[in-house]
């Protein structure tokens, strides 16, 4: 009996889904486009050829060598030689370069005289990523130049190369970048942006497909079809979307960790299981929203606000603990926060499952949310007593 009702609700929903382009456009197309966009946008992983400039007021053999050496660093490319500071600053304000080095007049002469001439680096930190990375390369260049000079002096004093290295660089730092050994920028962003797009789409679509029944006053028919059981009605309605979003989510995982070569220290299977939870949690939140505000446009606005804030609260660009205390607390209300924890544990750290248990439990709690509004939602669906616009 129940099963046949479920079937008919399911059939009805599938008819709606394929009846209007909005359903498939704003789910399958949007998510696929999002995946494609981010994977191709940041395909380099680390920026190459960031434009920088050199102000060479010295124009000596050594100053020209410095400019050449800057060009050979991995991330920067010297695109302009300027004759003075004002010219380089103008280029920076125009956004044509992210930084420049300024080699003063008589640089070579002073170097030979042992007067320690200074080189200045200027970076545009309004573009934080490009600025930080081009600064790193300029710093490398100047350290290399300095030690090259040191080496020549010590050689002239008759020291052998090993002794020289011990003197030039008595301490070296051996850096281990756990889970992302290339410090790939794409790994920082895409791992979170892709589920981010997914949750946005899930929230909006869940709210829409329920809310539109209220708006077009077809909710009574829907309830009748399900034998007046809200559970049957919601299951039948949302099941096709659950399947679709789970497929999209897992396809994203496979795309990232199997094809794009993103790091996955732990188990892809376990992580994909949490993706299922992630999808269901957002559908549950969608039901909560339309239950709280049984007016399509209000619930949609609310879902939009929450979905956009999710990106902030994943805490992947700006860590949560750097936020003011009041803002920090709200982070537990976003499944993406817990999903991010699981991602860090599985993909980057390869931590045991116990470490993710709390996050998994938190996501499970979200699944219970529809219960809170079930009475209110059912009443609204049957009485249709809310404004439709």
């Amino acid at each position: 009996m129940r099963l046949s009702q479920l079937k008919s609700v399911l059939k009805r929903e599938l008819r709606m889904m394929f009846g209007r382009p909005i359903y498939l456009f704003s789910t399958v197309f949007v998510v696929a486009f999002g995946y494609l966009f981010f994977l191709t946008l940041i395909n380099e992983g680390l920026p190459e050829r960031l434009p920088v400039a050199v102000v060479d007021s010295d124009n000596s053999a050594i100053s020209r060598r410095l400019a050449r050496e800057l060009n050979t660093t991995p991330m920067t490319q010297v695109v302009a030689g300027c004759t003075n500071f004002a010219e380089a600053r103008d280029l920076m304000q125009r956004g044509e370069i992210y930084g420049f080095i300024d080699i003063p007049r008589d640089f070579y002469k002073e170097l030979l005289a042992g007067k320690r001439p200074e080189i200045s680096f200027y970076v545009n930190n309004a573009y934080l990523i490009a600025g930080t990375l081009s600064y790193k390369d300029m710093l490398t260049m100047s350290t290399l130049a300095s030690s090259a000079y040191q080496r020549e002096v010590l050689r002239a004093k008759g020291m052998d190369d090993e002794a020289i290295m011990g003197r030039i660089q008595p301490i070296v730092i051996d850096t281990h970048q756990i889970g992302n050994p290339w410090a790939n920028y794409g790994v920082y962003l895409i791992n979170v942006l892709m589920p981010g797009v997914l949750q946005l789409v899930i929230l909006l679509m869940t709210v829409y497909c329920i809310g539109v029944e209220l708006k077009t006053k077809s909710s009574r028919e829907w309830m009748k079809e399900s034998g007046d059981s809200l559970a049957v009605a919601l299951t039948g309605k949302l099941l096709p979307y659950s399947v679709m979003f789970i497929i999209l989510g897992i396809a994203g995982n496979v795309l990232l960790y199997k094809f794009a070569g993103f790091p996955m220290q732990g188990s892809l299977l376990r992580f994909s299981a949490s993706t299922v939870l992630f999808v269901l949690a957002h559908q549950a939140i969608g039901i909560l929203m339309i239950g709280l505000f049984p007016v399509l446009r209000d619930a949609i606005s609310f879902a939009a606000l929450y979905g956009i804030l999710s990106f902030t609260y994943a805490g992947f660009t700006f860590p949560i603990e750097a936020m003011p205390p009041l803002a920090q607390g709200a982070s537990v209300l976003f499944p993406i926060r817990h999903y991010f924890h699981i991602y860090v544990n599985e993909a980057l750290l390869g931590a045991p499952f116990v470490n993710s248990a709390l996050s998994v439990a938190a996501m499970l709690i979200f699944l219970a949310l529809p219960v809170i509004v079930s009475k209110r939602l059912k009443k609204a669906l049957i009485n249709q007593n809310y404004p439709i616009k």
């Binding site: 395909n43 320690r116 008595p170 730092i173």
Partner: protein
């Protein structure tokens, strides 16, 4: 003479229609709770919200575990200096690497500094000593913070060790200084001196907030008009489907008027109030925002022609906000985008708006220094004005035909 009066009548009728369309649209806006919510509440609240969240600009005192197996005066000196760096704080001193790794995996610390047992011995033998660090790569800011702190400490230690060694080798004073650092570097961070996160992200977000609230608000108005109007067209009836330009420009004027105060609040007041970068000249900023607003308005109107319902704009295009943010090139540099995405980005007013605004507001650029963006925005405004009119015209014609049949 006759021609002149004809022209004058044409003009006066045109202006009257224009004025009618504008006031009519304003009336619609103020009566629509949803649109008011997007235009005014979202426009006002989002900048406040994001400033509140990112208020601290950077992360300080990242907890780090240290494993000091050398436990010598040298290693202790290194760690003392390291702990003094503002980015990090030694939260745990571990006896073994296993202990530190457990803390790391549990997320209690975001980095490990490991000093091997031969650290001081190697230094004493004038060999190269190694210190290992382990970075938490889950956030760029953890990575950056730990790298900065270790690099500063290392350079500082390097200097004092080298000076001691040269002194021991009989090289002293100025000459030792020169050997240690023949070419001192002097670095200056322009436009965002602290390298703060809010100062970097928010200028781009502010422009996007203007762009997207306009986009979704206009989409909602168009969708509602189509739902309500008997003929399903967004054209006022007394014009009988003629005078498309009057309709498009009249509506645009309504949005433009509303967005003058909103824009002034978002790009003028917010950066000053929250102490974000704001070295741009007000006059320059003002002149730049005019084509940006016009381009964004006509762009939104062009797309809104295809919006059939009140909510569909938001559902279909909300994710695009994120795409637009990254296409603007504020984060991943424009020079490193694949060519095709760069061309795609030129379709949207937000790209030039964000770039131009960052250059003017954060970098103090003049209008001639953002000429490219400025000209592009005017071109977009003109292009989308025509596009909005043409597509509206097509829709109206199609609907007329549908009614006649």
């Amino acid at each position: 003479m006759k021609k002149a009066t004809g022209f004058l009548t044409y003009m006066s009728v045109g202006l009257k229609d224009l004025f009618w369309v504008m006031t009519n649209e304003l009336r619609h806006i103020f009566r629509d709770r949803g649109v008011m919510l997007i235009f005014f509440v979202a426009g006002v609240a989002y900048p406040l919200l994001y400033n509140g969240i990112y208020n601290n600009e950077a992360i300080y005192e990242i907890p780090v575990a240290v494993v000091d197996q050398s436990s010598s005066p040298e290693s202790r000196d290194f760690l003392r200096k390291f702990n003094a760096a503002q980015e990090v704080r030694i939260s745990n001193r571990c006896l073994s690497m296993e202990e530190a790794k457990a803390l790391f995996t549990d997320g209690k610390v975001h980095g490990i500094v490991y000093i091997p047992s031969d650290y001081h011995l190697k230094l004493a033998r004038l060999e190269q000593a190694t210190i290992s660090i382990y970075n938490d790569m889950s956030s760029f800011l953890y990575y950056k913070g730990l790298m900065m702190a270790t690099n500063y400490t290392m350079l500082d230690q390097l200097r004092s060790i080298q000076i001691k060694r040269y002194n021991a080798a009989g090289i002293g004073g100025e000459q030792a200084e020169q050997l240690v650092e023949a070419i001192p570097g002097n670095d200056v961070g322009f436009y965002n001196p602290g390298g703060g996160f809010a100062s970097f992200l928010l200028p781009a977000l502010l422009i996007l907030i203007i762009h997207q609230t306009l986009f979704f608000g206009i989409g909602m108005l168009a969708g509602t008009a189509r739902e309500e109007s008997r003929t399903h067209s967004s054209i006022p009836e007394h014009l009988h489907g003629r005078g498309i330009y009057r309709v498009v420009i009249g509506k645009a004027l309504a949005y433009f008027l509303l967005y003058i105060p909103i824009t002034a609040y978002i790009v003028g007041f917010i950066p000053k109030f929250f102490n974000l970068p704001h070295i741009g000249e007000i006059g320059t900023l003002f002149s730049f925002m005019i084509p940006f607003l016009l381009a964004a308005i006509f762009f939104s109107m062009t797309v809104s022609v295809f919006v059939k319902n009140r909510e569909t704009g938001l559902i279909a295009f909300l994710f695009f906000t994120l795409i637009l943010l990254f296409l603007s090139g504020f984060s991943w540099p424009v020079q490193n985008m694949p060519e095709i995405w760069r061309w795609v980005s030129y379709l949207f007013p937000s790209t030039h708006g964000v770039q131009g605004y960052i250059k003017i507001n954060s970098g103090g650029a003049t209008l001639s220094q953002v000429r490219f963006e400025y000209v592009q925005l005017w071109l977009q405004a003109a292009f989308y004005l025509i596009a909005a009119s043409v597509s509206l015209n097509l829709v109206v014609k199609r609907e007329k035909r549908a009614i006649q049949q």
